[in-house]
């Protein structure tokens, strides 16, 4: 059903995405250019979930917003269903794409208008796109509320303030589903929920993926959670992608020193496992995106850094099938430099 298009191209293809913000100095705060996303390329294939992990400030949300064109990126291409959103001049193309790409954000209460009922919140996109008549819209709203596990007769008339965090998030998901999108972008969509609501919503995402053939771009800082839902995972650091690969393999056998550091920081419910260790290099804050390090952006915290890391940005290398890494000294031997794009057609072809 909701495949990208007939040509075998990915549903979403992002190339050389750049987003920067000019900040003015004020009250002792430095001004300059924030290099929030720098030359990022990746793709989301039809029916798959691409997870994105990275520390706070690494640019995950900025990347997502650039993809959604809110605001549009400074440069780069965002191909969605065969249309480059970044350059699409025809309003019709953009409008069509926006319908097919919906987003669910972190704050369950903040993202819903507190004065609206659940029913009108979920109906809103249908009304905005003037889809169907009153009765058809009502049927669709009831259908999607059912789909996310909210009984329309119980919850339809409630307002967000009368819902739990998990229920609010279901409403946000229902709203994202009303227009039958192909791609759902989740930015920390379950991060503020406790473990039981989180598990319920994650299972819901999975059910929708198999039942409706949805694809997801799934951003979260919790690596175990991202693994739970992802086919492939991208690791982001200070505005760049370090490594992109199949979830299982990337977690079992990370190639980038930063990926490994992230994995070592995770607490496990198994007390026999060693306590998470932060390598000394990772202690302290990442450098400011106002003034990112030359060469490899991770070099100021990397235990493997050498002179070349400061001089040259590491090229993206195809390490294993469908697994790319941007590092001069990856943790396992990889093939000599062959030009590739993250998650792109690199080694797979």
């Amino acid at each position: 059903m909701t495949t990208g298009n007939g040509t075998g191209r990915p549903l979403l293809e992002v190339r050389n995405l750049v987003q920067e913000f000019v900040v003015r100095a004020h009250g002792g705060v430095r001004g300059g250019v924030v290099h929030a996303v720098s030359d990022v390329s990746f793709e989301v294939r039809a029916g798959e979930t691409l997870g994105v992990v990275g520390e706070t400030g690494s640019g995950k949300s900025t990347m997502v917003r650039s993809v959604l064109q809110a605001p549009p990126p400074k440069s780069g291409e965002v191909w969605f269903q065969g249309v480059d959103l970044a350059t699409a001049r025809r309003r019709r193309d953009l409008v069509a794409a926006r319908r097919q790409m919906q987003a669910v954000f972190q704050d369950p209460y903040g993202s819903l208008d507190p004065k609206w009922t659940v029913f009108s919140i979920v109906e809103e996109p249908l009304a905005a796109y003037r889809t169907g008549d009153r009765r058809q819209r009502r049927a669709r709203v009831e259908e999607v509320l059912d789909l996310v596990g909210l009984d329309p007769s119980v919850f339809g008339d409630r307002k967000p303030g009368q819902l739990s965090g998990g229920q609010c998030q279901r409403v946000a998901i229902a709203r994202a589903l009303t227009l039958a999108p192909a791609l759902i972008v989740c930015d920390e969509a379950v991060s503020s929920l406790d473990v039981l609501s989180q598990a319920q919503v994650l299972n819901l995402f999975e059910r929708l993926r198999t039942e409706l053939g949805l694809s997801y771009l799934f951003i979260a800082h919790d690596l175990a959670l991202v693994k739970q839902v992802s086919d492939r995972v991208a690791v982001m650091y200070l505005g760049t992608l370090c490594e992109v690969g199949p979830a299982e393999e990337l977690y079992r056998n990370p190639l980038h020193p930063y990926t490994k550091a992230l994995l070592d920081s995770i607490p496990s419910p198994d007390p026999e496992r060693p306590r998470p260790r932060v390598p000394d290099e990772l202690a302290g804050e990442p450098p400011s995106p106002l003034d990112p390090p030359s060469g490899c952006r991770f070099r100021t915290r990397c235990p493997r850094a050498a002179d070349i890391c400061a001089a040259e940005a590491p090229p993206v290398r195809a390490a294993r099938p469908d697994h790319t890494v941007a590092c001069h000294f990856p943790l396992s031997p990889v093939a000599p430099v062959s030009p590739a794009r993250h998650g792109g057609d690199g080694a797979a072809d």
């Binding site: 009250g27 473990v195 039981l196 609501s197 598990a199 299972n203 977690y251 007390p271 496992r273 202690a283």
Partner: protein, 347 residues
């Protein structure tokens, strides 16, 4: 660097084996416009010097209300019954001023949202200096020195410079470090961290936890970690108490707890936690439903409506927390089988 901060906390305790904090049969009820909310319904907890106790439970289970009761930070609509003893001093019933005086030096608390607990219009340094001078008889210069020292102790990068910055100029992790510095200003014997790392990413969380445990060892502090994350509890706590609907439903030393979970609710929390060991797309085993309405509780086990092991007795009678095995307490009539004991299953 930390010469002035003496690990005198242990000395102050007197008997090292005496508990720092003893909560007995704590009940907290909020008056609301309709029926009263029974947020905490008979909680017992004990914290020793140098010990880390994790309090786990889903949102609304009463973790925050319990810790706010210890801090005397509940709104006026709350009525508190039972006993909260700090050392051998009874806190329940003390007047606000007396309470502040005892608590100030003894207990520090770190809240979930560092952005909201810092004053956005005040420089970091002034907030910290103020906190220090409330509790310690230092002049402004001494307090300043102490403040910079505390910022260095919580490993804030470039502490002397940060001193003059405002909260919005710091990242979430840095703000949380400042909150810890403020909580430590008075060298408390007990530190309560309420979801202190929930909003932080994993590397920052690991750093903050390292820091907390290190400080705890150095000053022989008691540490209460409040969280809904079993992984965090298993990695850092000596003992785990699980709360449901305002009561402690299972409690044991961490290893014992994770290896031999008996209470079906604890089992549900553990099962629903995403783990790196699981393959992608494997459905998470999760119970449905929500915690009960705390205004109108049925007489039986509060978990009964969601429990897979429920039987008639559970709806009639309330299971009490009891030590069924050495140092392992649970409140359940039909606990999960301990799969390490062959053939044991009450069902």
């Amino acid at each position: 660097m930390t010469t002035q901060i003496q690990p005198d906390a242990a000395a102050r305790t007197g008997d090292p084996d005496a508990p720092l904090l003893t909560i007995e049969n704590l009940e907290v009820t909020f008056r609301t416009r309709d029926a009263p909310v029974h947020a905490v319904r008979g909680v017992d907890l004990t914290v020793y010097a140098g010990q880390t106790l994790a309090v786990i439970g889903e949102s609304g289970s009463g973790k925050t209300v319990t810790s706010r009761a210890v801090m005397g930070l509940l709104p006026r609509t709350a009525s508190v019954r039972g006993s909260i003893r700090l050392g051998d001093r009874q806190m329940v019933g003390l007047g606000e001023k007396e309470l502040r005086k005892c608590l100030g030096r003894e207990v520090g608390m770190i809240f979930q949202d560092p952005a909201r607990s810092l004053n956005p219009t005040m420089r970091i340094g002034s907030q910290l200096t103020e906190a220090i001078r409330v509790h310690l008889p230092l002049d402004r210069r001494q307090a300043r020195e102490r403040a910079v020292e505390l910022l260095a102790m919580v490993r804030l990068p470039a502490p002397a410079r940060r001193f003059h910055e405002y909260p919005h100029q710091l990242s979430g992790g840095m703000r949380q470090r400042v909150m810890i510095a403020i909580a430590l200003a008075c060298q408390p014997r007990l530190l309560i961290a309420d979801e202190a790392t929930t909003a932080l990413d994993v590397t920052t969380q690991a750093q903050i936890m390292d820091l907390l445990l290190d400080l705890q060892q150095r000053f022989a502090m008691g540490l209460v970690l409040i969280s809904h994350d079993m992984g965090l509890a298993a990695s850092y706590a000596d003992q785990v108490a699980v709360m449901y609907a305002g009561r402690v439903v299972e409690r044991a030393p961490t290893r014992e707890m994770i290896a031999h979970v008996r209470m079906p609710y604890t089992r549900a929390l553990l099962d629903a936690t995403p783990r790196l060991e699981r393959p992608p797309h494997a459905p998470l085993p999760v119970i449905s439903g929500r915690p009960p309405d705390l205004r109108a509780l049925d007489p039986g086990c509060a978990f009964a409506p969601r429990c897979s092991r429920v039987r008639e007795r559970c709806r009639q009678e309330r299971p009490e927390l009891a030590e069924h095995q050495p140092r392992h307490e649970w409140a359940c009539f039909f606990p999960c089988a301990d799969d390490t004991i062959p053939g044991e299953d009450e069902r």
